[in-house]
Every structure is written in C-alpha cells, then in structure tokens.
C-alpha cells in the first residue's frame, strides 16, 4: 500500500492559487451566516467562492475523523450507527448556528392546548429505502426512544401512547405536563426519525438524511454515500466516510498524513503547528456553552458574597483563554454563551481583574485563611492547568486553595454532595433547548442543586427565591422577548451575587486540509452538516 506523498507539490500549487484563497480559507468552514441558503440551517457555508478552483478537479469522496465511536452498541437502536455527526438520520426540528429552531422534517408546529402540540410533516420526504415519511414512522420513532431509554420519558416529558398520528402528515404529542420548550428539546439528533425496518444486526440504518450507509466496520468506520432522493440540497460529495480516531494527537497525525481530510477537535497543543502548516487550516464555531467556576454559596467561607466578588476580581479571563486555551474560545463574562439569544452577556456586571480591589474585598469579608477546595474533573480538557492558574490568581489576593482532580463519575458525586467550594465546570446545551442551561445550573431544583436542596434545603449555585421565579417565568413563556427579559434579570442577580467566576465561552474547532471546502460545523457540533462539503484535488 502506498500513501500520498504528493503533498509538497500540491502545497506549492495551492500557494500560487492566490491570496484570495488564503482569505477564504481563514473562515472557511463556518461562522458565516450571511447566506440564506435553502438548506435552512442558517449557515450557508458557501463562503469559499472566492477561491479559484478553476485548475482543480473535484474529488468525490472525503473522510472525517471523529472522536467518538459512531458504531458503539448504544446506537444499535438506530441500526448500529450514531445519529450524531453522520447526517444519516434527521429529527423533526433543526437548530441553526444562532440556536434558533429551523423546520426540518416538520414544516411547522403549533401548541394546540396546554399540553398538546401538533407537528405537520414535510411531504415527499423519502427514507433511504424509498418509502415516504408519514406520521406512522414518527410515532414509531418516538415510541421506540421512550421504550429504549429509561431517561427518555423524563427528558421529552412524554409517555408511551401519548403520540398520535392525526393523519398521514400530522402528528400530535401530548406532554405529561406543560412543557413550553418541547420543540427545542426535540431539536436533537437523538430523536431522529427512522424507518421501523432498521436492523443493527444487518447494518441497516434507515433514515432520511443526505448520506446513507454503505458499510459499517465496527469500531472503525462508517462509509456512506450520497442519497440521491434527499429532500433538501443534495450533497456535493458522492461518498463520505466517518472514521473513529479517539486519540486527539493520532487524529491530527492522520490528518497530516492525509489518511483523513477533516479532523474534529484537534488538541489545543497542536493548534500552532496546524496554523503554521500551509496545507491545513482551522475552523472555529461558537458553541452554546461556557466554562466557569461554580461557587458553593451554601458552604463557609464562600457563602460570603464579598469573598465571592473578591475571587472574581482575582481572575483574568483573557489570560486563561490566551495561554491555557491557546486562543480557542472567548473570555467569558457570564455563565451563558452570547450565541444564545437570551444571553445577557453585554449587560451584566463585569468583574475586571483587579488584585488590589480583590484583596480589599477579602479583608472586608469574614475570610480567615481557610483553604478553598477547587474540584476538577479529570476529563475536562486542560482543566488541571486552568485550576492551577486559578489557584495562582487566588494566591494573588491572599486566598489559599487546594486542587482536587477526580475522575468524572466521582467528580459528579462530589459536586452534588457540595464537597468543594469551587467547582470548575463547562456547561452547554446539546439540543435546541438552551433554557436547560440556566435551569439546571441555577434553579434550586436544577441538576446541580437538587440533591442538597432536597436533603438540606441548600444547594450549590442557587440563589432561590426571586431567581427561581425568574427562571420559571422564562422557562414557561413562549414569548422570546419575555423570556429574554426574565433570564436577563436572573443573570444579573447571578452576577451581582457572584455565584460563578466566568472563564470562557466555548468554541468547537476542526482541522481540515486546504482542499476541503464547505463544512458546516453546527452550534451543537454533533449536528454539523456535510452536504456542502467539497474535496478538491
């Protein structure tokens, strides 16, 4: 077997293609939302037209290396392939890069009662086996998820038997309780619509997506081909392979070796070398997530607001982003990423780095030199290094701290039991419903507070009272402005009371060969679109 060694000559050719190409390359894969392309994902991805490709030919295939095994047994229920990344299966509702809901297999939806929703299906959409999508398959798909995953009923607020086909293209959902974020919650690949004939023992995944399965090599790769009868814009590539390479360094080396064309999530430590390689480029996409230090406001001494404000003044977000994160991500100002429309990023209190003010606040507080525990999960990328910077910064204002790194499951337990003062964490939504982030993080009955709240009436990062009311108000309203106003006020309280130390807003990165154009990284990266992907010689 031989491997492509013609890279250097190609590099030389590409260099001469011109400066326009370089400009196009810089932002090639995403972020540009200027195009109103009719694929409806709000991210046209055709910003590479500047590039002169006249002397090059299109190659019909490409390979994308992902960091998660797409053939894991968890996905047997979809026929053996993950609905994430692969574009084989699609949900009723999509989410744009601005976290807005986009009609997908459903063209419209309407709340018809306090607990009922009607979704009209797009007509003429075909499954990969040639059959048309009707309400029956939608009912089947939802029932199947409710049946397969014990968490699904609670997550979707649905129970088996509550999904009904009203006619061929109309489905009614009755939620178990009033659930205003239902459409956002199902804007998620986990609730992909599939044909009942899918069968993982025969590697048969039957969805409606632009790519259909050709071959599955367990734990190695999934080869797909373009689906000619795709209802939306047909893919440009004829074949697309998804290969799993979990080790980030190996993924990048495979890209450099041209075994793959796109490497998702390369290690931050390799960014400089990717950027200095003329044949590679880096794409970035903001995610609806943020890294922050959650402060345990019910444990002494961090129950003192002056001390919490002091801690905020000790940290320089810019330093963390520039040094530890190698420039991936933006300095954070609150716990909610600004790509979520109701984020109050620009308006909430900003604690600027000021050691003198920090030290002053420390002496005003009741802090008596106690050591603060900083809890970090071992799988948070660069978490340990970030914790060290935070520790150093706290030293600067006279606050002692100790870092405790725990394996993820143990971390999760320790966090919920309120064992630490400071908890380094990254939050984010992986569906169109971003309300989840504020509810789970800051409502008394949200994920992180619930255990202690129920047991002792305390919690971790919950302020309770008015903030709970505001979060509930935002959660329950269908009106975007009202939601934004309620959440903004809640975020202002969170900032004033210094419940968190914001660190950064997350970005997802991918590295690609210069001869790859048009990938659309999604705001939720797992929902990235590959229909515009082009591969040039």
């Amino acid at each position: 077997m031989t491997y492509d060694t013609s890279d250097k000559t190609r590099r030389t050719v590409l260099k001469t293609v011109g400066a326009a190409g370089v400009v196009g390359v810089a932002g090639c894969l995403g972020g540009d939302d200027s195009s109103e392309s009719d694929n409806g994902d709000g991210n046209g991805g055709d910003d590479q037209e500047d590039r002169d490709r006249s002397d090059q030919n299109r190659v019909p295939h490409a390979t994308i290396a992902i960091n998660d095994d797409p053939t894991r047994d968890d996905w047997n229920h979809y026929g053996g392939v993950t609905p994430y990344w692969t574009n084989i299966l699609e949900p009723l509702v999509w989410v744009s890069n601005e976290m807005e809901l986009v009609p997908w297999l459903a063209t419209e939806w309407e709340q018809t009662g306090e607990r009922t929703w009607e979704f009209s299906l797009r007509e003429g959409v075909q499954f990969h086996n040639g059959e048309e999508v009707t309400a029956d398959e939608v009912v089947f798909s939802f029932e199947n998820i409710l049946d397969e995953y014990v968490w699904a009923p609670g997550w979707l607020h649905l129970e088996s038997g509550n999904i009904e086909a009203l006619d061929t293209h109309l489905v009614e959902f009755t939620t178990t309780d009033p659930f205003p974020t239902f459409p956002g919650t199902i804007a998620h690949n986990m609730v992909a619509i599939q044909h009942p004939d899918r069968d993982h023992t025969e590697d048969r995944v039957i969805g409606t997506g632009p790519f259909q399965v050709e071959e599955i090599e367990q734990h190695q790769e999934v080869r797909t081909s373009a689906f000619e009868d795709y209802w939306n814009d047909e893919p440009i590539l004829e074949e697309l392979t998804f290969r799993v390479i979990e080790d980030p360094n190996t993924r990048t080396l495979s890209l450099e070796n041209r075994e793959i064309d796109v490497a998702l999530a390369p290690p931050r430590s390799r960014i400089a070398s990717i950027e200095s390689d003329d044949s590679l480029y880096l794409d970035r996409q903001s995610r609806p997530g943020a890294g922050y230090v959650g402060i345990n406001i019910h444990k002494s001494p961090t129950d003192d607001v002056a001390l919490r404000q002091a801690l905020n003044h000790a940290i320089s977000q810019e330093t963390i982003v520039d040094t530890i994160l190698e420039g991936v991500g933006d300095p954070g100002r609150g716990p909610i990423s600004p790509i979520i429309y109701w984020s109050a990023h620009d308006e909430i209190t900003d604690y600027e780095k000021d050691d003198d003010l920090g030290a002053e606040l420390v002496s005003e507080s009741g802090y008596d030199g106690e050591t603060l525990e900083i809890l970090v999960a071992n799988d948070l990328v660069d978490g340990r290094e970030m914790a060290q910077v935070i520790q150093g910064s706290l030293d600067g204002i006279g606050v002692n701290s100790d870092i405790q790194v725990l394996e993820r499951a143990a971390y999760s337990e320790a966090e919920r039991d309120g064992e630490a003062h400071l908890i380094l964490k990254e939050s984010g939504s992986n569906s169109g419903d971003a309300d989840y982030i504020i509810y789970e993080g800051f409502h008394s009955e949200g994920d992180v507070n619930q255990r202690l709240y129920e047991e002792e009436g305390t919690g971790l990062h919950n302020l309770g009272g008015e903030v709970d009311d505001l979060i509930e108000q935002g959660f329950q309203t269908g009106d975007e402005d009202e939601k934004a106003a309620a959440y903004k006020e809640a975020q202002q309280h969170i900032a004033d009371e210094a419940v968190t130390i914001p660190l950064y807003y997350s970005e997802f990165i991918a590295a690609a060969h210069e001869n790859i154009d048009g990938a659309n990284l999604g705001a939720v990266p797992q929902f990235s679109r590959w229909t515009d992907l082009e591969h040039w010689e």
Partner: protein
Amino acid sequence: MWKFVLQRSVSAVFVLFGVSVLTFLLVFFTPGDPAETILRQQMGGQTPSAEAIQQFRSDQGLNDPIPVQYVDWVTSILQGDLGQSYHSDSSVTQLIIDNLWPTFELALAGMAVALLIAVPTGVISAVHKGGRLDYGSQLAALLGLSMPNFWLGYLLMLVFAIYLSVLPTSGYGTIDQLVLPAITLGTGMAAIITRLLRSSMLEVLDEEYIRTARSKGLRERIVVYKHALRNALIPVITIVGLQFGYLLNGAVIIEIVFQRPGLGRLLIDSIFARDYPIVQGLVLVIAVLFVVTNFLVDVAYRYVDPRISFEGAPK
C-alpha cells in the same frame, strides 16, 4: 506431575473466587452512581430525572442487597452467562469475544517483535561482555525500558507515516496497521528480555559444561547457540509467559493511540462508564487468563528442565 496439576487447579479455583469477591465489592465501593453515570452519558451530559435513575436501578437489580447481587452474578456465571452491558443489549461474553482477537493478535505480534530484537541482542551482548556491542545493546535496552509507550507510538507515526509515508497512523484490520503498534509494544518488552537473557547467558557461559564443549573443539557458534542459549532461555520462558499474560490484558495505551479495539480499552472505557457487568466479567476473564498462563508457564518450565521441582510436587 498429575498431582501437581491437580494442586494447581484447586488453588486456581480459590484465586478466582477471591478475585470474583474483590472485583464485585470494589466496583460497589467506587464513587459514582452507575445509574446516573450511564444515563448521563447516554443523554450526552444532560441530567437524568430521579425517576429515570430509580427505573434503571430497579431494571438492573441495583437496589438489591450486595450479597444477593453477588450470588445472582456468580450463579449466572456458573451457567455461562457473564451478564449484559448496562449501556446496550450486548452480552458481556460477546463483547469480550469481539475484543479478544485484536488483543491476542497485538500481543502475539508484540511478542514476536520483542523476541526478534531481544534474543540476538541478549546473546551478542553476553558474548561480547564489556565490549562496545555490549554497552550499545545495554544502552538500547535502557532506552527501550524508559521510553513511554505512547511517546514511542507518536514517534513511530511521525517517522513511518508522516515522513516516510510507508505505513498508516492508526486503524485496525490490515497487516500494515499492525506493524507500528507491534513495534511500540514489543520494544519495551524486548528491553526486559534482552537484559534477562544477557545475565542468564553470562551465567550459563561460565558453567563447566560449556568449557567442556569448548575444550572438545566445538565451534563457538555451536557452543553459544546450541548449548548455552538453550539453557539460558529457561528463565526467559517464565518472563515471556508472564509478559504475554500481561499483554493479553491489553496494552491500553497502545490500543488508544493506534485506535485499535481490544480488551484493555474495553476495560478502561467500562470503568469510566461505570458499566459494572463488563468490568466484573472482564476482570474475571483476565484473572482466568493470568492463572492459566501462569499454570502453563510452570508446566512448561518443568518440562524444559525436569530438574526443577515445585514445593509439594513429587520430585
């Protein structure tokens, strides 16, 4: 000999019983609720509801008292059933079978690489004791021992995949995808075997029968390779056997760096995912592999050199 085999078999059963109890208890004392961890992972990081967690616990029998769970587990193992993964409908037995061959293949190839390097190097080093070749090979062995596997893996990728473009960086299924992992795995072991063989050879070369062989006028090559090496290999067999057992555990780092399936990787992934049935089943299988390998090594040892006896075994 048969009495020896019987005694070893009985002790093996006790060892395995001990392992089963320890494994079973250990996973229950590990922090992190499996129900919550598994569900959270399936939900892509989102939080499962308390009802979902309760439902999962009762579906999987996690609410039963630990002794009851242990008895249930052992009973089904005795019936040949290692249980089901919490994550999917896959049986633990099937998962182990699926991952056994890739690990076995890697261990075998790694061992072949190790022996190919170690046997000639160890012999040359002993024969040229104190010379340049000896120092050179000792230095190489030291390097091989101290180099972390993952680092060597990346280094080999850089050289053979990126610069020379003769081998792929990663993957599983073809021979060329096996070369770099086998070299990575084999090098560390080669270093151990080289050092052992060298000292063993030096000892043997000092023996009287070697002097006798030389004095009979046999060619040095015959003396070294036929008479000395054969006897010097005896301790090496033990190490090779034990190391092979260790390799069968799966060289986790290598499996991760080169993106290969295997038992080591399955174990690590399952521990992090708190997929207890896999962890328990796999640890038990690994213990069996170890016990069996040790047993075979002892028997082989005795077979190669009948003078070797075992405590309690007939002389």
